[in-house]
């Protein structure tokens, strides 16, 4: 299966500070989750892939077009990309419809009738179908977030890049967004710091920290890295990465040496993620 998008030794520096170290990876069809702490390089990676940001070195290929090569190739790639940045500063005086209409023009929907139908379609997808005529200033935070996602969906792009799409959404809206994303045909790359999103949604997980990918594999593979290392007992485990008292009064410990009277429990994505983070100098399961 050929990759929808690929990084070939891509790196990015802001001034002299490296934001992304030389990274190579291929993205195929399905939902890929990018997990990592703030400042790990998630946004940098997504902006590079979206063509909003040029890399300092390396090659980025999207749908067979080398975006680092020529302007013409970049434009071809952009016709196949939908990108939703982490934060969108909306022009507040515009209506939701006018905003999407404008971005659809920028995405080369020149025919007015077809463009308007497409705008209605993406409004419906994010459940804003009855808010089209409303001024953006009057929309709630969650509605604005969904509007930002809607603009990325215009034209059903082959590669959809969403930076923290679930931030600001309530649980119900998050669930409906998951439903929407899992139903899309192309490749979806989302960054998140919510581990539930990853376990609920992603076929593949990338864990990124300090500008480098620490893990690349399926959710099952990620969970396997933490198997046997999460314990529940009356007391905290010594040397644990994280411990907390659960509702049952028992203490859940991630990592460390288990106390004799504690039992092993199934790890969550969050446990695995915390353990990975604690071992930043020994990357595991990284496929080049």
């Amino acid at each position: 299966m050929s990759a929808i998008a690929s990084f070939d030794s891509v790196s990015k520096k802001y001034g002299r500070a490296p934001a992304l170290r030389a990274t190579s990876l291929n993205l195929h069809r399905g939902v890929v989750g990018l997990l990592g702490p703030n400042g790990a390089g998630k946004t940098t990676m997504l902006r590079l892939l979206s063509t909003a940001l040029p890399p300092s070195s390396g090659r980025i290929v999207v749908c067979g077009f080398d975006v680092t090569e020529s302007h013409a190739d970049r434009v071809e790639a952009r016709r196949r990309i939908g990108y939703c940045p982490q934060e969108v500063t909306f022009p507040r005086g515009m209506t939701a419809f006018a905003f999407l209409d404008y971005l659809a023009v920028l995405k080369e929907w020149t025919d007015k009738g077809r463009r308007h139908a497409e705008v209605e379609r993406v409004l419906d997808l994010v459940h804003l179908g009855d808010r089209g005529a409303m001024k953006i200033a009057k929309l709630s935070g969650g509605q604005r977030r969904r509007l930002a996602i809607a603009q990325a969906l215009v034209g059903s792009p082959d590669l959809l890049i969403l930076d923290e799409p679930t931030t600001g959404l309530d649980p119900e809206q998050r669930a409906s967004l998951r439903g929407l994303l899992s139903g899309l045909a192309g490749t979806v790359l989302i960054s998140t710091h919510q581990t539930e999103d990853v376990s609920a949604l992603c076929d593949r997980v990338l864990v990124i920290d300090a500008g480098a990918i620490r893990f690349d594999g399926t959710v099952t593979e990620l969970l396997a890295t933490a198997a046997g290392r999460v314990h529940l007992g009356p007391a905290a485990t010594s040397g644990a990465v994280q411990t907390w008292k659960t509702g049952t009064g028992l203490v859940r410990s991630v990592g460390g040496q288990p106390a004799p009277d504690s039992s092993v429990v199934d790890p969550s994505v969050e446990d695995a993620y915390l353990l990975l983070r604690s071992e930043r100098h020994t990357p595991q399961g990284v496929n080049p």
Binding site: G129, D130, R131, G132, A133, M134
Partner: protein
Amino acid sequence: MFVQQFSDSELLGAIAQGDEAALRELVERHSAWLLLRLRRRTPDQDLAAEALHDAFVAVWRSPRSFRGDGDVGAWLWGIAIRQLVSRLRKRAQPVPMESRMLSALSPTVRSAEDELLVAVEHGSVGDALRSLSPELRQVLQATVIDGLSTREAAHLLGIPQGTVKSRARIAKSKLREQLISLEARS
């Protein structure tokens, strides 16, 4: 939101606030009968559908032109029939109905209708109407039932304004004669 529980005039209030769900409910409630009735005014089914579309768009743009007296149904029909007239006038291009046109629907239309309704239900007008020729009946329907002006009726029926006026005059006097003679007989 449970728009289904609202009355028509409450829906109009919500529409004035920019609530699309309220307009959707209004469309749900009134599309069918308005469409059926529009089809009785034009043989062109597409034109009837277009007029209906224009009517709801006009409602969305000026929902406040409903004055709160009378029935929303009557008000809606007044808008729909005028949209049809306006479509007929410029078949290529819809003319957005202005709000003053919407509010020009006078309550006298309703009272004329009411009177007639009472009369129809009493049966005597039915006989009187039957005695009129189709052309005269059409004019009467446009001017009295639909409440159109002479000019609007002329566009709807595709006849000169002078003809509308004269036919309306003849129809009314014939109707009066018939009613009087019917009264006298009974």
